[in-house]
Symmetry: C2
DNA sequence: CGGCGCATGTAACTTGTTACATGATTCC
DNA sequence: GGAATCATGTAACAAGTTACATGCGCCG
């Protein structure tokens, strides 16, 4: 289970030079439903990537000591290599499902409220995804550059729809057995 | 992000006494689509749980040096406490989606084959879930003990259906743009 | 008698989170 | 001038994986 932080950052930099802070923001917004990275990973990783010659940093003078990173030829090569390499099994951990599995040892009411919370969180995800989708669709895209990203959004929409519908069924079940 | 290993094990032990090895097997089979634990977590955790008085071990003499753990009153209390406590945000990491997002920098053909692999893996998950569902339904359940577990299976089925349908759409899209 | 599955355990390592420190800029 | 946000970084810690060591029992 090797770290993928490096490749996420390279992927973002392939589009345009960015600061570590900006990359974190992009990951939080665009990848929120299937990926995350913390500053504690990003900054040290950028340093090590620079040492490996995959990126070059420019110290923005004047501005608030920000470092803008750009990808190098070598970095692009690494990115392509990773894109063609096999994927690791996705890792998923949903505490709520453990609690549903063990539901008979706990309170149905509390569980129902936990599911409602889960539902709300994913309803927000769903809204964000819908907004992002509309935004992308509203921008003219003659070269079909947005299609790939729209596929990712579609994944998020479909899985979140599944989540929401499961929540409704399960809340109904829990409240029906009171 | 505190570890939940302890509670998973307590939950399993609430049903019946088990060895570490058996718990690992149950987690691998029953929780495979939303949770995992390794021996490297399980054995040290069981030791620490015994020290905390949440479980008691019985050394099965004669048999191949196995230790069977049983939950204590104190352990049951801990389990109930956790069941009523708030959940951590679920963690999900899907490398494939990063690659779809960055698809324009790589090969469409390779990506399509990666998605096919993903699809196959989840088709297997789907089959396992269906089999487990049928098994549970075939066992008479006068006290509705299986209902909670069936809800968990339902979650797996719904999300996997979403995955599979997304795979088909996305493969079609990739192969259409060749 | 050899290989596989059962069974437990540990040590080294990698990965990831959190908390903290520092300081600039912007906006009210 | 104070709060929020921008911005970078590190150190301590927690969590999780992997590889290894050990040995029994069963089946062919």
């Amino acid at each position: 289970m090797s770290s993928k932080t490096r490749f996420v950052l390279l992927g973002l930099l392939q589009e345009q030079p960015l600061t570590g802070y900006e990359m974190k923001q992009l990951i939080d917004i665009r990848f929120r439903f299937f990926w995350n990275e913390s500053f504690g990973q990003i900054y040290p990783e950028l340093k090590s990537m620079e040492e490996d010659g995959l990126v070059v940093a420019t110290d923005l003078s004047g501005a608030r000591k920000q470092k803008r990173y750009a990808i190098t030829k070598s970095g692009s090569r690494e990115l392509k290599l990773w894109l063609a390499s096999p994927n690791e099994k996705e890792s998923i951990r949903i505490e709520l499902l453990l609690k549903v599995y063990f539901a008979k040892y706990g309170s149905k009411d509390i569980l129902a409220s936990q599911i409602k919370q889960f539902k709300e969180a994913h309803h927000i995800d769903y809204s964000i995804l819908t907004a992002f989708q509309e935004e992308l669709r509203s921008i003219p895209d003659p070269e079909n550059n947005h299609q790939d990203i729209l596929r990712v959004i579609e994944f998020g929409l479909k899985t979140n729809e599944a989540y929401l519908s499961w929540c409704d069924d399960t809340i109904a079940y829990l409240e029906g057995t009171r």
